[in-house]
Symmetry: D4
Subunit: 169 residues, 8 copies
Amino acid sequence: MTNGTPLVGIVMGSDSDLPIMRGAAEALEALGVPFELTIVSAHRTPDRLFEYGRNAHERGLKTIIAGAGGAAHLPGMLASLSPLPVIGVPIKSTNSLDGWDSILSILQMPGGVPVATVALNGAKNAGLLAAQIIGSGDDAVRKKIIAYKQTLSSSVLKKCQVLETKGWK
Amino acid sequence: MTNGTPLVGIVMGSDSDLPIMRGAAEALEALGVPFELTIVSAHRTPDRLFEYGRNAHERGLKTIIAGAGGAAHLPGMLASLSPLPVIGVPIKSTNSLDGWDSILSILQMPGGVPVATVALNGAKNAGLLAAQIIGSGDDAVRKKIIAYKQTLSSSVLKKCQVLETKGWK
Amino acid sequence: MTNGTPLVGIVMGSDSDLPIMRGAAEALEALGVPFELTIVSAHRTPDRLFEYGRNAHERGLKTIIAGAGGAAHLPGMLASLSPLPVIGVPIKSTNSLDGWDSILSILQMPGGVPVATVALNGAKNAGLLAAQIIGSGDDAVRKKIIAYKQTLSSSVLKKCQVLETKGWK
Amino acid sequence: MTNGTPLVGIVMGSDSDLPIMRGAAEALEALGVPFELTIVSAHRTPDRLFEYGRNAHERGLKTIIAGAGGAAHLPGMLASLSPLPVIGVPIKSTNSLDGWDSILSILQMPGGVPVATVALNGAKNAGLLAAQIIGSGDDAVRKKIIAYKQTLSSSVLKKCQVLETKGWK
Amino acid sequence: MTNGTPLVGIVMGSDSDLPIMRGAAEALEALGVPFELTIVSAHRTPDRLFEYGRNAHERGLKTIIAGAGGAAHLPGMLASLSPLPVIGVPIKSTNSLDGWDSILSILQMPGGVPVATVALNGAKNAGLLAAQIIGSGDDAVRKKIIAYKQTLSSSVLKKCQVLETKGWK
Amino acid sequence: MTNGTPLVGIVMGSDSDLPIMRGAAEALEALGVPFELTIVSAHRTPDRLFEYGRNAHERGLKTIIAGAGGAAHLPGMLASLSPLPVIGVPIKSTNSLDGWDSILSILQMPGGVPVATVALNGAKNAGLLAAQIIGSGDDAVRKKIIAYKQTLSSSVLKKCQVLETKGWK
Amino acid sequence: MTNGTPLVGIVMGSDSDLPIMRGAAEALEALGVPFELTIVSAHRTPDRLFEYGRNAHERGLKTIIAGAGGAAHLPGMLASLSPLPVIGVPIKSTNSLDGWDSILSILQMPGGVPVATVALNGAKNAGLLAAQIIGSGDDAVRKKIIAYKQTLSSSVLKKCQVLETKGWK
Amino acid sequence: MTNGTPLVGIVMGSDSDLPIMRGAAEALEALGVPFELTIVSAHRTPDRLFEYGRNAHERGLKTIIAGAGGAAHLPGMLASLSPLPVIGVPIKSTNSLDGWDSILSILQMPGGVPVATVALNGAKNAGLLAAQIIGSGDDAVRKKIIAYKQTLSSSVLKKCQVLETKGWK
């Protein structure tokens, strides 16, 4: 992980979610935002859930990214326990209904307890959103976000040139 | 509530769920199964959730009925915390997506942590299922279930007679 | 099957459902709850359906687990015929609509006839739920449930250690 | 009902389905096809279900129309029990999920046991389909079908004239 | 095809539907019901559609089975043109939305023009339903249906014995 | 209707669709594009359907707008019969499944036979799209489209001013 | 609006969204976070969209809340244009498909351009999430969040007492 | 590309969409309609989006075909910026929800800003629709459309002959 006290906590319900959730870690690493990454299961380790959620802001975290699939309760329970903004990543796991269950059980939180939900399997975007949140109070991080958006644009323009040179066939 | 130590705990996330959840209470009352009924919000009272879930079986409850709507985490979190069978009632609340969110976030629990889910707004059936669960180890309650099923049947047959007498017009 | 008179009946509509439904058998075996397992088709063997449903409780069963896919009528018809709690397992069979048909035709039972529905392909959880139902009236079984939940938790914590030692990359 | 031995049996799970299911009766009446109409609940009167399904063809019925809502098992169970063609009418009842549950639990029957499903609340079309089935072996009924289709067409053409005369404003 | 004047017309929108639709032909062949099978595209051969629909009953057909995928208009347009009962088979083709488009555009016909819809890819059941329709006016065919249902039942019972002999492991 | 030979044909399956479909007429009238409006039912007046579709371009129409609900076959059948661009308006009629059936049976046309589908009940947009199609070969109409888009923008900006003056409370 | 330079920009596609979106304003007002509120339509005022998105962070905003319904492009386009975290509120407007279109067109953003999506009509939660984002870099705001969460909890506990005193009947 | 000033602009959000979108290019090439093809990303190159949308009609284009997946904003934003008819192709990309997100975020445009939506992955039909639009003001192109429809029909009739000769087995 990037050096320095972690500002972002990335958690997931199971190590089987790591192939998706590493996208969040890679995005934060690329932007130089220090983070931690671990497993917290709402359904199998409720004590750990409570401890993680209750203490996250005391330990210096600024935001939490939580990924889960199926009847995904991890993001919402962390949002219940922590005053930090919680980003939820719906995961299309093998036991999910094409991801609809993951999306709805993360997105449709009741009034008073928001979860900032990103696209299905959208862990990379969760990492970027966490950086944007850090960046809303930290100019250095925001400049990196602005630079990142320019690379997005240049990369598309380069592909345009390739297409125009080679033709579509 | 019916006299005697409660055997069933009926909980809901908000008092706005009471018009639906009272169906469970009425079914248990009709079958003479003692129960308790209260509010536990997974998202607004996480400490109460933990306490309720952890202690339910110590207090003599045999099963828990939990109703919730939207990103409904109450039944699943109780199933995480308690060794008792937990019955989940998906509620079609005003902020739910026609109930699909309520159903999927209760039904699609991961391996190891089942929730016995009933139909959308199916609180009456949750009460009957709780009685059947009690009845699986208690002959007096099972006999009441058998009698109840006979009244279901007679009531349909009576309607048949009315229809045949009056005609369908 | 575990020795002793069966307490749980596991039935399925077709032997093609066995690869999923064996999850229920394995869960019960692991918890030492005696069970039986057979095929009952609501649509192809209606006489067998009637006989099974009507006699299950006379034969000493305490709960029935029924798995079916597509327009899945087996769990609901058994719930119609038997006073026992019936657990329904929606199966994502090749001729099902991603499992939506299986879920809705098991879950959405009318008032008076509940089916305790578990997640799509959730046979393992059906087995655990059956054990919890037996355990609600049998302390020895409940202790096994409590121990099982502790192994769930330890297994997650072990994975946390591995992840923290090896890192996420 | 139209005079003569009933050729079509119209059944429904509950008298609350009558406002929809009368559409089938009216269609048959208009075409002069004799029918009977009664209540058979798959879940509340399973004995009656068996008796009705097993004997329908012995009593001279040529086809059965069955309407049900939610986890609708009536049409499929009748198709299991009877050699007659069974027409299923999915009903959008108050406890159904906008009718999706009714449709899927009637339509998605397994190989070997078809149900001829019509549109949600499509009882009128069920009546017409029953008449078409009778008409496939009875020229007098088929002629009435042909005449009926001509009235459909003329009634549209009349509306065209009204529209063209009055204008769309 | 089975000898004799065809009583059933099986049509499909494209030869790519044949791997599914042959299920209808095989079912009719097994029951000895003579049929014809060809291609009629509502969208690519509208003249052929009209001719087929208008003349089917004049040529001696008793019912039509029509299979189509995506925005499937073939069954409904044949039902518009012909007085015969039309059976629709929704096909899950590569350009369909998991079959939902096929189902809804066949099932949800307006009042006056029914299509007898079977399950997604349910061509075998369409064949059986066609035989049941013929059988409603022809005792020899009905007897074959009754015999067929008995083989369904025996085949399940045989599988029960295998399972009980070999065990579920 | 606007004077001049009609360039756009607006058709609908039933006069009950007029309250929605008049939105197309009003949009064309506002932009000064001459049109005709009538009823053509794919299912009830198939002959009229054929005649309308086959002759539309001979009569000088440049595009057809067709609205229908449920298993909506009118737009697709017109697209089958006519070389003109056909715009489909899915209508949320009382017998439709919240409009999903209308959308899918219009949108999901097979390769070779496109329908330009607009939003559910989007008749106004169908009118605008027809004008854009005319405008792609007619500068006067395109200028009206450009002017129309400016009024859209000004009307929003005016609402901004009102909101800023009055405040959001 | 709360005094001070706005830290949050609340925008919506149309003034018809105000009855929903005012929930965001009220939440921010209650927490003392200064904000601005106006109308920006992605489809009707694209120039205003560009200007708002490009300049928001220059004007001192820390986060943007954007509400829209149907094919909702406003949140995603602002996320494309601005380096700030953008919170999207899917609105169930009259021309939306029960809100599914609003949700999916806001949530399912491509890699590189996240939108923090909240529940359907969840404007209040969008306001809270914006405050949490501000609070991640501002201790005073975070303390208000913590206090707010305590009022959520107390309000539920008070309802428990009422329920226990009055009983559920 | 076909010689001559392009009349149709084909754009897509990413070069990963080319395998689908080339269907539009091939259809236009086959009909001899000159076109251009390039990449424009609504989310990654918003400036390019604006420039393309604002100038398309000045450069002589008569219609635009835009393909995109997930939260697909490209077609709708081009429709916002340009007075030309815009054809939207929903793409079932790897990060889309089986294409439902792509369809709804293209189809459900608000009043005033239509997008002519074709089937999921229906790029070929988008090309044909563009040609039909050109053809509504250009007799030479329309004749090609009429000829194309005849080849569709002949190709089906040829398959009929093959099937009738070879039989269905």
